[in-house]
């Protein structure tokens, strides 16, 4: 299993992702933002941080980094792409995922624990989870307020592209459990094919009991299970409509 973690200038969760992925025994490499090719990779991770200082808008400048052409190509060819926090913001800016990020509704950086409900357990990143499973992970962002217009939200919901939603202790999405004001309490979404996942919570920080939790391992483990063919594609409702079922 070959995993690449892209390093943009200003990425700061690259090493954290590297270590978390390494703990699964995967062959993980850093990919410099000035590279162009992603040949030979099975999974590409866009890590958190402040690429280009988050100047202008989070992710706005990084999307023009040379490697992003390769990421778009890789994704279009069906490769697995995981964007975490700043990585999610970059995926939105480059258009691989729909919508945009706004400043948190309480306009401050927020570092805290949240609960996520698995809304679609039939994606490569959640195939080991059961629907409705609640995962605990940390968030750390100032721009995590997911926004899309109503038509886009309806489409996302209809096609099962909403993968994670912020919920409370009872597993219910409430305004209080929504840490940043995201539309529909959205914490993570995929493409229609399910091969690109963007999420704000830092799953790489929830991979070790010593650091307070291991729920992030569900997502990485799912991706590796999917890649190793342990999950039949047929079992996955790859978020699409009709023919893909």
């Amino acid at each position: 299993m070959r995993v690449g973690v892209v390093v943009f200038p200003g990425s700061n969760c690259d090493a954290d992702c590297y270590r978390a992925i390494e703990s699964f025994g995967a062959d993980v490499k850093y990919i410099w933002y000035q590279d162009r090719s992603l040949d030979g990779y099975d999974l590409v991770v866009l890590p958190g941080g402040f690429s280009y200082g988050d100047y202008l808008r989070a992710g706005a400048i990084a999307r023009f980094a040379p490697i992003m052409d390769g990421v778009v190509e890789f994704a279009e060819a069906g490769g697995l792409v995981l964007g975490i926090c700043n990585g999610f913001q970059i995926l939105l800016e480059c258009g691989l995922l729909p919508g945009a990020m706004l400043p948190n509704v309480v306009p401050r950086f927020r570092c805290d624990g949240v609960r996520l409900r698995v809304e679609n357990a039939h994606t490569p990143f959640t195939c080991l989870c059961h629907p409705g499973q609640v995962l605990s992970m940390p968030i750390a962002h100032a721009w995590g307020n997911y926004y899309a217009d109503e038509a886009t939200l309806v489409e996302l919901e209809r096609r099962g592209q909403v993968v994670f939603r912020y919920v409370n202790e009872e597993g219910v999405p409430t305004p209080e459990a929504n840490p940043n004001g995201s539309c529909h309490s959205i914490a993570g979404i995929t493409t229609r094919r399910g091969n690109v996942l963007g999420m704000m919570p830092h799953l790489e920080r929830a991979c070790e009991a010593l650091l307070g939790g291991t729920d992030g391992r569900w997502v990485f483990a799912s991706a590796f299970e999917f890649l190793s063919g342990g999950v039949e594609l047929g079992r996955l409702h790859l978020a699409g409509d009709g023919p893909r079922h």
Binding site: L56, A60, I61, L92, G99, L102, P107, Y147, A148
Partner: protein, 88 residues
């Protein structure tokens, strides 16, 4: 020729602006009760060389469209003027 473009990037009307709301609350606390709305945007100045105003305008339009503003949430507008000698 040297031009100066002043680009204003603003949030679309339908988008909540938490920073603007916070400033509005602060203004009300300072007894500026008659402030009905506050919206925060960005002001960006570009100094560029171009053959003429038309090509400068086209280029600024493209720059704003592709990078300076995110069309999902933001609008932009700009003014263009010829900039003298050492401007910028």
């Amino acid at each position: 020729m040297r031009f100066k473009a002043q680009v204003r990037v603003t949030l679309k009307e339908s988008i909540l602006d938490p920073q603007g709301s916070a400033v509005k609350r602060a203004l009300h606390a300072m007894n500026h009760d008659n402030v009905l709305d506050v919206r925060i945007g960005k002001h960006i100045e570009l100094v560029l060389t171009a053959d003429g105003p038309e090509s400068a305008r086209r280029q600024v339009q493209e720059i704003a469209d592709r990078l300076l503003a995110n069309p999902v949430i933001e609008n932009f507008s700009f003014d263009l003027a010829e900039a003298g000698g050492e401007a910028g």
